[in-house]
């Protein structure tokens, strides 16, 4: 049933095209955008249900058999990533309806947003390295434009850094793909997994693996390749930085997980050893960077980096439990991080700034926001019983199991430092009075009813998801266990792709 696979890509693509056709009709464009995001969510749920019931789903577009045609594959990891893209895409789309100003909407926010969703979804579902490259490009072009949308000075500065470093990564990716194709004659990931063990030049394979590691490392902002992220993520509109924070770096992590479980597993001691060191350093530098910042979105941007470290750690441990942790962490992190950025947007709306020095008084003015901030913030730092606790617990247990005590200690320490950053936001934005007097801080009651529904609604749903994952962790762990099993087993994936013949 390949239609379940293509639908989550076609819906945002069609929505983007329709939104372009409605270029100067703002109300119609907004309606199409919201409906498109809702429909996208439905298709992603259908895909998840299919994969949950029937296992790995593979489809050959145009019925050209693998490895010659365009292959789409959804195993449990892909399906859950697509599902979470659908959930975030819909929630942030609703939020953006109230958050975007007219200028940004008139300059094409909605079409670009759906092109971005197309790229992200495509990257998760594709079964071919070159198509992965194409989806990365679709995603990047949309993200360049979204980042610069509004053309404020600060934004253009961030966008240039973002574009420059991402182009370097793209070139690396392309060189690696070219070399790999020269070596094996195929780019279908399942076919590569079959052929790569028979390649004689083992050294070259490891070199290509490291090239991929660097290319995806830049995209996922790991140490020491993360500088573009804190330079750009605090500049665009809130809805844009929220969807970036949730999804973009995670596509890089997903690509690392996919390639380093399916394709490059011949020299695990070297490649995954390097990844483990990178993971530890990423966690530490991210969290230390955050401690030095005084602007909410900058703090959160640095935390993205430290959290990426945890996911890479799960991959680098390369045990069943480690990968369960990585998958669980990916899902938990996307929800929590997007939510924190959305809350940061509300904070700016109520107090007029995101600079910690210039705001305050939220605890008294809007108690509801207190709860909505605390849930993702505490989950991010791993306080039970929220989702982050289980994610960290699984990863730390996985590292203790194989005796990597250093990385376990780092993970615990970084969790504590994360809590420190969150207390800083708490103390400055919520606890202390507003420097310009208490009247400067608005409450949630001061927003109009539509604003409340569109801005607070998605935040509440994401917070509820965080709590649900925390309290009913078992079904999510089951899902992560299945995903991890498929990643390590490899043969079901390869059979699903190569076995399908028209």
């Amino acid at each position: 049933m390949s239609w379940f696979l293509i639908a989550p890509i076609l819906v945002p693509m069609t929505t983007a095209a329709l939104a372009v056709l409605l270029w100067n009709q703002r109300p119609a464009q907004r309606a199409v955008s919201a409906c498109g995001a809702g429909l996208h969510l439905i298709t992603t749920i259908l895909l998840m249900v299919q994969v949950w019931r029937g296992g790995i789903l593979a489809g050959q577009m145009g019925d050209w058999p693998a490895p010659f045609g365009i292959t789409l594959v959804a195993d449990h990891l892909s399906a859950v990533m697509v599902l979470i893209t659908g959930v975030m895409g819909f929630g942030v789309c609703l939020y953006s309806l109230s958050d975007m100003n007219e200028n940004r909407e008139n300059n094409g926010f909605h079409p670009l947003y759906h092109v971005l969703l197309t790229g992200v979804t495509g990257a998760f579902i594709t079964g071919d390295l070159f198509n992965l490259y194409v989806w990365f490009e679709v995603m990047l072009i949309a993200s360049f434009a979204l980042l610069a949308l509004g053309s404020e000075k600060e934004q253009l500065d961030g966008a240039i850094k973002y574009a420059a470093i991402n182009l370097v990564s793209t070139v690396m990716f392309l060189i690696a793909i070219g070399t790999l194709y020269g070596l094996t004659g195929t780019l279908n990931m399942a076919d590569l997994a079959l052929r790569l063990p028979h390649v004689e030049q083992r050294g070259l394979v490891t070199t290509i693996a490291v090239l991929f590691m660097i290319a995806f490392g830049i995209k996922s902002a790991v140490f020491p390749l993360f500088f573009w992220l804190p330079a750009s993520y605090h500049t665009p509109a809130v809805a844009v930085s929220a969807i970036f924070a949730g999804l973009l770096t995670k596509v890089g992590v997903y690509a690392l997980v996919r390639t380093f479980t399916l394709i490059f597993t011949s020299d695990v001691a070297y490649t995954h050893g390097a990844l483990l060191v990178v993971a530890g350093l990423t966690m530490v530098t991210g969290v230390l960077g955050a401690a030095a910042q005084n602007e909410i979105r900058r703090i959160l941007s640095f935390h993205i980096i430290s959290q990426i470290g945890y996911m890479i750690m799960g991959l680098a441990l390369y045990t069943p439990l480690g990968l369960i942790g990585a998958v669980f962490y990916l899902v938990h992190h996307i929800i929590v991080k997007t939510n924190l950025f959305l809350v940061a947007g509300i904070i700016r709306r109520l107090t007029g700034s995101m600079e910690l020095k210039r705001i305050g008084g939220l605890y008294k003015a809007s108690p509801l926001l207190v709860v909505l901030f605390l849930i993702p913030a505490l989950s991010l730092s791993g306080i039970p019983p929220l989702s982050g606790f289980w994610a960290k617990l699984v990863l730390i247990r996985a590292s203790l199991e194989i005796g990597s005590y250093a990385i376990a200690a780092t993970a615990v320490l970084v969790g504590a430092l994360t809590l420190f950053s969150m207390t800083k936001i708490w103390g400055e934005a919520f606890w202390k009075p507003h420097p310009e007097g208490p009247a400067r801080t608005l409450g949630i009651g001061d927003l109009t009813a539509t604003e409340r529904a569109l801005l607070i609604g998605p935040i509440m749903v994401f917070a509820a998801l965080t709590i649900a994952i925390g309290l009913w962790a078992q079904p999510f762990l089951d899902l992560a266990t299945r995903a991890s099993g498929e990643l390590l087993e490899r043969t079901p994936y390869i059979d699903a792709v190569m076995g399908v013949r028209p």
Binding site: T14, A17, V20, L21
Partner: protein, 139 residues
Amino acid sequence: MTESLILRTATRLLLSLMLLFSIFILLRGHNEPGGGFIGGLIAASAFALHSIAFGPAAARQLMVIDPKALAAAGVLCAVAAGLPAALFGDAFMRAQWLHWGEGEATFHVGTPLLFDIGVFLVVIGAVLTIVLALEEEDV
């Protein structure tokens, strides 16, 4: 925009020829060199030439439809080309064909043509969005 009599006279003659040629290239594309992409480039360069000779405003007026909308319509065409396969239980993008006539005179029309038209429109739309934006910045 250049006030050149030679360029303007030549453009009037070339424009229709280039557009005709672009459609010829689009249609011969299925089994021979050509197709939507290259055809679209030829059509786009016809309009680009017109905007160099007579200015971007004249080119927009000549095109009637906004290039961005043209590109979007192209994407929709290309997506639509993949959908008929669903009616026959095939995978997305599986080509579906209609045949008329017999023997040597058989005439084949299929979804790949619709896909090529989609590509044709996307290329014209995307290239001209960029070209016209650059031209308009000049003025």
